[in-house]
Symmetry: C2
Subunit: 207 residues, 2 copies
DNA sequence: GACAAGCACGAACGATCGTTCTATTCTAGT
DNA sequence: ACTAGAATAGAACGATCGTTCGTGCTTGTC
């Protein structure tokens, strides 16, 4: 969920190509069943490779998990964050981010919602590289969102005394509640509630 | 002169007692590492039992997981929901529920937040008894919260035209954002943001 | 004190886990 | 076209998974 880190070359080598395929499958599986479900065996079957052949691309299960987390963050940046930057700074951009975010799991075929969120929940109590990586991503994300809110203050669309981090808190709550409501009440009702909640949040802090 | 030697006044049978101990450990572990991490072996080590001895209490891993989910829901009802019912209906009760909820994971030593939430995320894409049970719990919870909001409308503390389910959506978002912010920014800041978000939510729908 | 029932243990099962080897196939630069 | 190195497969390892089975303790009842 941060800035892109690797521009893709024109033609990747065979190895990098299959590695990318593996990671794509890994992200999907992690989204729906958690990063701990990323077993070498199941992933090998899913991609039609041998266990050892797949394993050789990463060297250890932990490295595979971290690579999958990075890939999930990269996808988020690519599908949600960067497109929002095309909108003019301020509320328009904030709303664009929000809409991209709501549609992301469906569009990217990530049935379990944001994988980084899943990882954060999964590892927050188990010290180690996965926990560190997930929390770092979340911090970065928070910083980006807060910055976007600050831009909306600078454009005077939000009141000058607005607490940007408080708005970011509210925004993350709407997204999280949306993912939950999507499961409990269905997509349409979840969208309706989420949009209304965002409108109310913005209205409340409007200049 | 028969000495009735009963260690505790109302003592459940030995079996039920150890079963309860196992479930208590299971709920804690599920909270921090997910229900899929509930392996017979690790749970046996944690409780100082043998694998087969522990296993005999449940008959299958699935039954153990479901029992753990039920126990988590029972704990939530006992520690969060029922105490709130002592407050007078309306906003007071809603606020009591909210405060109990915020403090629950810490007080109940559930480092990973609400286990039912964790289960919902973990299984929502894998059809089966766990998914069904988790979603059913969430629906029940939503109904209870919505009902509490409706009571606050009846007491005229909230506006008559308030959409109770929308307020319930907002409330769940605040709770979810709180759990997340607790990990990313620490408990104090998370509490501050959560309380202010609740105040704003209530003010917005106040009569 | 005998006896049935409830309860826990230890050993073992097949399956799968992550990982390490060696061997074979394929790709890419010349 | 040749070849060095990258990429993949296959077999096997010890560990752990969920589960079964047979056995021995406890416990409460006659």
């Amino acid at each position: 969920m941060t800035v892109a880190q690797r521009p893709s070359p024109v033609r990747a080598s065979k190895g990098e190509e299959t590695r990318a395929q593996i990671l794509a499958a890994a992200v999907q599986q992690a989204s729906s069943a958690g990063f701990e479900s990323l077993t070498i065996g199941s992933l090998a079957e899913r991609t039609g490779m041998s266990k050892s052949g797949l394993f050789a691309h990463f060297g250890s299960k932990l490295d595979l998990q971290i690579a999958a987390l990075d890939e999930a963050a990269r996808q988020f940046t690519e599908s949600v964050f960067l497109p929002a930057l095309k909108a003019p700074r301020g509320l328009k951009r904030l709303r664009a981010l929000f809409e991209n975010w709501l549609g992301w799991p469906l569009h990217a075929n990530l049935p379990g919602g944001c994988p980084v969120d899943a990882a954060t929940r999964e590892y927050h109590h188990q010290p180690g590289p996965m926990r560190d990586a997930a929390l770092e991503r979340q911090r970065l994300l928070d910083r980006e969102i807060t910055r976007m809110v600050e831009l909306a203050i600078e454009t005077k669309e939000l009141a000058a005394q607005t607490d940007a981090s408080q708005v970011a808190f509210g925004l993350s709550g709407i997204i999280l509640a949306f993912y939950r409501a999507e499961l409990v009440h269905g997509r349409d009702e979840a969208r309706r509630h989420a949009r209304q909640a965002l409108d109310r949040l913005i209205r409340q802090h409007a200049a």
